[in-house]
Structures are given as C-alpha cells and as structure tokens.
Symmetry: C2
Subunit: 215 residues, 2 copies
C-alpha cells in the first residue's frame, strides 16, 4: 500500500463520503460511473473529484469513468475499513449507549470490544452484546487487551485523568464526544484525536436558518 | 444586524468553535485576549482568526486584543443563539433519545418542543420532560405549532415521506442523522440541511490511525 503523506485533511474527510456514495451506487446496481455523474450526485465539481482521487493514485480511465466496485474497495482499503482495530467505549450514558447500539464499528475499521462506566446502576448491564464493566477494571483490561482506540463519552471534567491513563496504557486514538480539549503534548506523542461537537453542528444550522430568514 | 452574504461555509463552521473557546475563557475569568493567545489555544493562525472575525466586522482593537465577553456575545447573536426556534425530534430511538437528553438546544438557538415516534412501546413515554407523541399526530402538531426545524433520527428508508410532509407543513431546516440524501429540489425551495454522518468521522479516525502506524 503506497503512503499518502501530503494529502490534506479536507481531502481525507471527503473519502468516507465518496465511499458511502459508491456503496449506494453498488446497491443500485451501478458498475461504472463518470466523474461528471458522480459530481452531480455528490454536489462536488468533477475536477474536484478527479483531484481528490488522484491524491491516492488515479482510479479512473479516460472515456470509461470509474469502476464502482473497484473504487469502493480501493477507498475502503485506503481508509482501513478492514483493520478491525479494537475499540472501547468509556462512558455508558445516553450518548455512549446510542453509539454502541447504532454505529457499525465493524464497517468502519473497528471492533467494539468493551464498554466501561462508573455508575453501579449501569455496570453489569448489557449493551450491544457487551456487559458494561466497572471503570476500575479499565487498567487491567487495557494491559491484557491493548485497545487501540477509546470512544470518550464521559463528562468533560472526568476526561483529563481518563485520557492520561489510557495514553499510558497504549491507546493511540480517541473519538472524543466529551468536549475536553486535548493539549499539544498528546499531539506531540502522536495521539490521534477526532473531536465530535454536535452542538457546533446545531449552531451552524441555527446560523443558516437565521440568515435564510433575513434574506 | 448587518447581513453577511459572502461568508464562506468554512468560516461559518468555525464560529461555534470560537464561541465555545470564548465561553471557556469567560469561565476561567479572562476579560480580554490577543489574537495571538487565542490562536495558540485554538490551533489556528492569528491571521486566520482576524480574517474570520473581520467577515462580521472587526471586533478587536490594535494593542488591546479582543474583549472576551463582548466577542462571545456578538458571535452568539450573529449565530442566533437567542432565537429559540422551535424544534421537533422525529424518531425516539437510541440516537433521538440521546440527543433529546444531552444536547442543550436552548444554548444553541433552539427550543425542543416535541418528540415523535411510531413505536407503541415508545409512544407515551417521557424523554427530557416531553411525552413522545405518535407520528400520526405529526401533521396536526405542525399545523398548530409551526416548528421551524426537525431533527431526523429515523431510518433512512422512512425519511423521504417524512421529509416531504414536514416541508409541506412549513419546516425550514433539518438536522439530519438519517443518512438520507436531500435532493436538489429541497435546496431550490430554500430548505436548510445539516447532515451528521458519525460514521464518516469514525472512518477518518481509522485512516489517521492507520497512516500513523505506517510511518
């Protein structure tokens, strides 16, 4: 697999979207598609699509377009959808439970292996086939099972100490719903953080609706 | 309030982040901050911050920086955090429930006014102080209460007919968790859609972890 060192984060963030659209096209029975057709469906310019995909080697053929199955599979392996990285969820509150039950971790390169919480009313319950473990078992669990990624669905105030422990225990990446801001020291250690701020998305919607109303 | 017609969506998407950081600074007791300090905390360049904020009129003073309270309040009113637009949640499954319980709609310009589902086991239960209504009551509810926005937390297959009804009933915006792709006709009607694809975020994390491992 070639390395893609100079690919910008904006291009990387569009890959899952291409992958989704191609998956939909496969379900609809398409076997090939031109960059023009793909651009109309995705609301991007054809030249943007060509540029994006060229970052990873050209996949299209002049006059033919893209082979849908092949491009879907190539993008999947570029993103690592087959990696099956073990992931744990820390925090089995509303958001943690909803993610455990609704996110298809297997299809996105992960394997949900454990869920932790500190509340006696939640510990021992079953979510998505996993028994919620006491957060006091986190350290032993990580030493034995070496999870690669943690989903943080704990209150912000609880995050600093949990993050610090998890990094010491070898966790390399965080899917962070806690609103905790990872400091530069973690970046310097090579820790990867994907922050999700649902409130930011909702505020953007508010701005757009307000602006539309002012026209 | 001046209109901001030529502001790019990337700048708009950074506003909630500025707003969050400024809110944090207020809690920490900061009354003013230079664009340099703000840039270090946010991981953006000082010039980027000045450019972004200049889109809405300059808020800083040479040699003083930004007044934290004032900038926070100005950004809030630009985004419409005080608008209190009525919003309904359609789909009281795991994600719908988690959003109802965890998102601070009031702080982001909205007011959660009703929740709908089609499952007899969920209808009549209480979530976040609201009794879940039967989706068959949706039309009457909308005629009487004119919700501005709908959160779509229903399966993708159910979305087309629900969206079509809601638009006819005057809903102007959607916070869309359903993976349904709104067609161009809705855009032409001025419908605003904010799509949330949590899976895309997770796949981005997978790519970044995989890439880091290949270094």
């Amino acid at each position: 697999m070639p390395k893609h060192e100079h690919v910008s984060i904006s291009v990387i963030r569009r890959l899952p979207r291409y992958y989704r659209f191609l998956g939909d096209l496969m379900k609809l029975g398409f076997s090939r598609i031109s960059s023009q057709e793909l651009s109309q469906r995705m609301g991007l310019t054809a030249s943007q699509i060509r540029q994006d995909l060229n970052c990873f080697g050209g996949f299209g053929q002049q006059g033919y377009g893209y082979n849908v199955d092949m491009l879907h599979s190539e993008l999947g392996s570029i993103m690592g959808t087959n990696m099956s990285y073990p992931v744990i969820i820390v925090g089995a509150g509303n958001i943690g439970r909803a993610l455990a039950m609704n996110i298809n971790f297997g299809a996105t390169g992960f394997r949900l292996s454990a869920i932790f919480d500190n509340s006696p009313s939640v510990i021992g319950t079953t979510i998505s086939g996993l028994t919620v473990m006491d957060v006091s078992e986190l350290e032993n669990y990580c030493r034995e099972n070496r999870p690669k990624v943690a989903v943080l669905t704990i209150p912000r105030a609880a995050a600093p100490s949990v993050v610090s422990s998890l990094v010491d225990l070898g966790v390399k990446g965080f899917w962070n719903f806690s609103h905790y801001d990872f400091s530069v020291k973690y970046k310097e250690k090579g820790i990867i953080v994907e922050n999700v701020h649902l409130g930011d998305s909702l505020m953007t919607l508010c701005y757009l609706i307000k602006s539309a109303g002012e026209e």
